[in-house]
């Protein structure tokens, strides 16, 4: 059965199963305590670095997808973005570092924020989904889409998401048992993502956004975020990571 694994002990097969899409996701419970998540969420919601962008109501940080062909602008924004995140998270207790350490421990590989020619990639992105917000069906694939960037050479891209605040209802991550392939480009939507026709009758797994939990999944599997319902926002911290060699991982957004 295609079902998520709740991590109880480290296993090499988890990594291989994520890469192959044999499991939809790995859930690591209680990476952060509920009280720490609550205090971080309060800091985030009071931050002056929040920006509103089309397709998602609010975010802190930048990502490659906003700068596919604007490399210098991306690295300039990444610098600002990383400074904003440092301001929000205390230097000695950054949830980005905790996520990286957790990944390193699970997969027995060292992980670093990616850099290219001395420039550091954006280390993470905070997304704030408010009532009515959702994310349309898509996949993430830097190998195919970000050819201007060194990160496009990284192997086996995975996605890590830490839930910092759960909404009252909705906001589930739905992952489909369907891996992207080049022919699917014919089903693209002009602005973002793919036609829902691609996932008709495809098995799916819904993952509830429980604060403190971290999930790791293969972002080449089609996925979307269901509508958030209620006045409490869904707040996540996320980044991608992938192999630069057998024992080393790079992370980025």
């Amino acid at each position: 059965m295609w079902t998520t694994q709740i991590l109880k002990k480290t296993s090499n097969s988890d990594y291989n199963n994520l890469i192959s899409g044999k499991i939809p996701a790995l859930i690591i419970s209680n990476v952060l305590s509920k009280s720490l998540c609550a205090s971080l969420s309060e800091k985030i919601l009071n931050s002056t670095s929040i920006v509103s962008v089309p397709g998602i109501s609010k975010k802190i940080g930048t990502s490659l997808s906003s700068h596919i062909y604007e490399k210098s602008k991306y690295f300039s924004n990444a610098k600002t973005s990383n400074q904003s995140l440092k301001k929000i998270f205390s230097a000695n207790y950054s949830p980005i570092t905790i996520m990286q350490q957790t990944i390193s421990k699970i997969f027995q590989k060292q992980i670093f924020t990616a850099n290219e020619n001395g420039m550091t990639y954006s280390s993470a992105m905070i997304r704030i989904h408010e009532h009515g917000d959702s994310v349309h069906l898509h996949r993430d694939n830097s190998n195919f889409e970000m050819s201007e960037y060194g990160i496009s050479d990284v192997n086996n891209q995975l996605s890590a998401i830490l839930y910092l605040q759960s909404p009252f209802n909705g906001g589930e991550l739905t992952i489909y048992d369907k891996m992207w392939n080049k022919n699917d480009e014919q089903m693209r939507c002009p602005e973002f993502g793919y036609s829902s026709d691609l996932i008709k009758n495809i098995p799916q797994k819904n993952i509830s956004p429980i604060s403190g939990n971290m999930i790791i999944f293969n972002p080449k599997l089609y996925h979307k975020v269901e509508s958030v319902i209620g006045i409490k926002s869904r707040i996540t911290l996320g980044f991608f990571f992938g192999e630069i060699s057998e024992n080393y991982l790079y992370s980025w957004t």
Partner: protein
């Protein structure tokens, strides 16, 4: 306003032309277009493809355009029945 179509590049013909599977057409286009069209690009908004045609080669075009989803702003048809367009990438398939 010029007509706009979107679709996937299926075959590279030369350093300034390709074949495209048209999947989307702007609602307010003046003309309608075939499912498969040949495109001649006069301008291209993809930094890895040099603007100067003499600096381009086919492998460069293959690497940057083959199988990619692109947006074509149409200015007319040439004598070979190819659509003459300004080509750019369109949106993103993901983050």
């Amino acid at each position: 306003m010029s007509d706009i179509i979107w679709g996937t590049v299926t075959k590279i013909i030369s350093i300034n032309s390709f074949e495209m599977n048209v999947s989307h057409q702007k609602d307010t286009n003046n003309d309608s277009y075939q499912d498969m069209e040949e495109i001649q690009f006069t301008e291209i908004d993809i930094p890895s493809i040099p603007l100067d045609e003499s600096s381009r080669d086919i492998s460069q075009i293959e690497q940057n355009l083959k199988d990619k989803f692109v947006k074509c702003e149409i200015s007319g048809r040439n004598s070979e029945n190819r659509l003459v367009c300004t080509v750019s990438h369109s949106g993103a398939g993901g983050y």
